[in-house]
Every structure is written in structure tokens, then in C-alpha cells.
């Protein structure tokens, strides 16, 4: 049996031939007993292979392969590309850069902004106790959540009273 005929039979089994080639293959099978035997053998082999279980991925072996690649000095970009795909690798890198820049921006705000007034709006200072040395004066402590200010105020007799000077609650 000629090699050309074997290739024709192979393509016919795989349904990779034209209609004319198909007819030729059918004619060959009808006239050549060897061709018929060969086709049956290949069909049987194909059935056996399809009935085998799918190959199991050995995760430990795969991880060892990754480690070996890293140790062998391959570029980290290749590993990244392996995880995210070559098109997503640069996007991941860009995202990482943007993330780092955002952190730097926030920290820069923290460093260069006026630390007295540019930060938290929640009252975070605590006044444990307060006394006044002015006779007749009383003291008052309050925190304003909207501004973050903690206020320690003296009500001085015949002087300025905090209740007169504080804005009404609905306005603050």
C-alpha cells in the first residue's frame, strides 16, 4: 500500500479531505483489503485513546517547573506573561505603577498639606482635664465632628460666654 494512499485514508478518517478525495478513499477501501484493515485499525486506536481518562496535572511538578524557570534566570516579565498572558502583563505593570503613584500622592498630601487642618474631620484629640486660673470662670470642652476641631473654652464671668458665641447646632 502506497504512502500516498495511507495519507489519504488518514485525512478521510479525520474528515480533512475534499469530496473528491473522499470518493477516492471510499473507492480504495472498497477495492483494497489492506486499506480496509488499516482504516479499521486506526479507528480502533482512536476509540481507545478517546476512552482514556484525561491527563492529570501534577501541581507539584508544575510548581517545580516554575521554580526552575525562575532560577534559570528567565525574565520575570515572562513569568508574569505566563500568569496574565502577554497582553495583560503590561496592563498589570501599568496598574502597579498607578497604584504606587496613588500611594505616593496620598503620602505627599499627608506630608506637604497643612497637618493642622487638612486631615481627619473626626474629633481625635482627647482632653483629660482642664482647669482655669481665672476666678469665677468655668470651662467647657466640646468636639465638632464636621471640622475635627476640639475646643477648650473658658466662660469668663462678665466676659465671653461660649453659648453666646457658638453657632446653633443646625448651622454647624
Amino acid at each position: 500500500m502506497k504512502t500516498r494512499d495511507q495519507k489519504l485514508l488518514s485525512r478521510a478518517l479525520d474528515s480533512e479531505c475534499s469530496e473528491a478525495q473522499r470518493r477516492t478513499a471510499d473507492a480504495l477501501l472498497a477495492t483494497d483489503p489492506d486499506a480496509k484493515v488499516l482504516q479499521e485499525t486506526w479507528s480502533e486506536l482512536g476509540d481507545r485513546m478517546r476512552s482514556l481518562p484525561a491527563p492529570v496535572v501534577d501541581e507539584e511538578l508544575a510548581w517545580m517547573n516554575v521554580q526552575r524557570e525562575i532560577r534559570s534566570g528567565r525574565a520575570e516579565r515572562e513569568a508574569l506573561a505566563g500568569v496574565f498572558g502577554p497582553r495583560l502583563a503590561w496592563a498589570f505593570g501599568l496598574g502597579l505603577v498607578l497604584f504606587a503613584l496613588s500611594i505616593l500622592f496620598v503620602l505627599r498630601q499627608e506630608w506637604t498639606g497643612d497637618p493642622r487642618f487638612a486631615r481627619s474631620a473626626t474629633p481625635i484629640n482627647q482632653v483629660e482635664w482642664v482647669e482655669t486660673g481665672i476666678p469665677g470662670a468655668t470651662t467647657m470642652i466640646f468636639a465638632d465632628a464636621s471640622t475635627g476641631l476640639t475646643v477648650v473654652w473658658m466662660d469668663v464671668e462678665n466676659g465671653v460666654r461660649i453659648n453666646d458665641k457658638l453657632k446653633p447646632a443646625e448651622e454647624t
Binding site: 482632653v127 476641631l149 473658658m154
Partner: protein, 143 residues
Amino acid sequence: MKHLLILILLAVALAPVRAHADAVSVHALMIEASNASGSPDRRLEQVESKLRRVFQFTHYRYVGEGRTQAPESGNATIALPGGHRLEVTTLGRRGGRLLADIRWMRSRDTLLTMRVNLSDRAPIVLGGVPEGSGTLIVVLSAE
């Protein structure tokens, strides 16, 4: 490259911790609040809007300011105009805040004494001392 990035991020993250180990800068801003008329003072632009949200005063006048570098445990004084001064006794840190005794003095008179846990994230406003037609306010902050 990856290791360099990690080192940079680590250095950035640890920078505030290192800063905390240094002496504490305490800043005092003295303001006279009143109901007089006047144009806003640009030196108060950071704080005036917040004060306006709390108080009813219509005008805030910059009087002066002072700063001191205090150790985390020790004494320091901030001199302010008009014979005023703040005596600061730092007692260390507690929960990220500076524990300090603050004494507001005018010449020999003690106007106000307090113990505060002062955060570097927000100021404390001391006030109520009559001064002329207005009221003195001190905005105290640790940095």
C-alpha cells in the same frame, strides 16, 4: 526591579514611624476673634473657615504664632504676643497621640491648664480669653 519597588514601598511606609521617633513640633496660632468688620487674613485661610463653622464671630485677626521642638518627654515654651505663652510639658506618647500638659499663661497669671492627648491629625482650639473688644483663641497642634 521587583525588589527595588518593595524596598521603596517599605521605606515610604516606615517614614512616618521614623518621624515619630524624633522630637515633636508643637505649633500655636493666636487669633483674636471679634464681631468687628475687616478683611480676611490670608495667614488664617487654613483655619478660618473651620472656625467660622464652629463660632459666630464675624472676624478673625492674626495675632501671632510660635513653634517649639519639644522632646517626647520634657518641657518647652511657646512665646506669644501680649505676654502670653504656652508652657508645654510632654509626657510621652499614648496610642499614637502626644500626652501633654498645657498651661496657658499671661505674664504670671495662669489662664488655662489642661492635660491633652494631642494627635498630629487635628488641632485643639483654646479660647475664651477676653482681649479688648474681642476674644483670644489659640489653635494648638502637634506635628
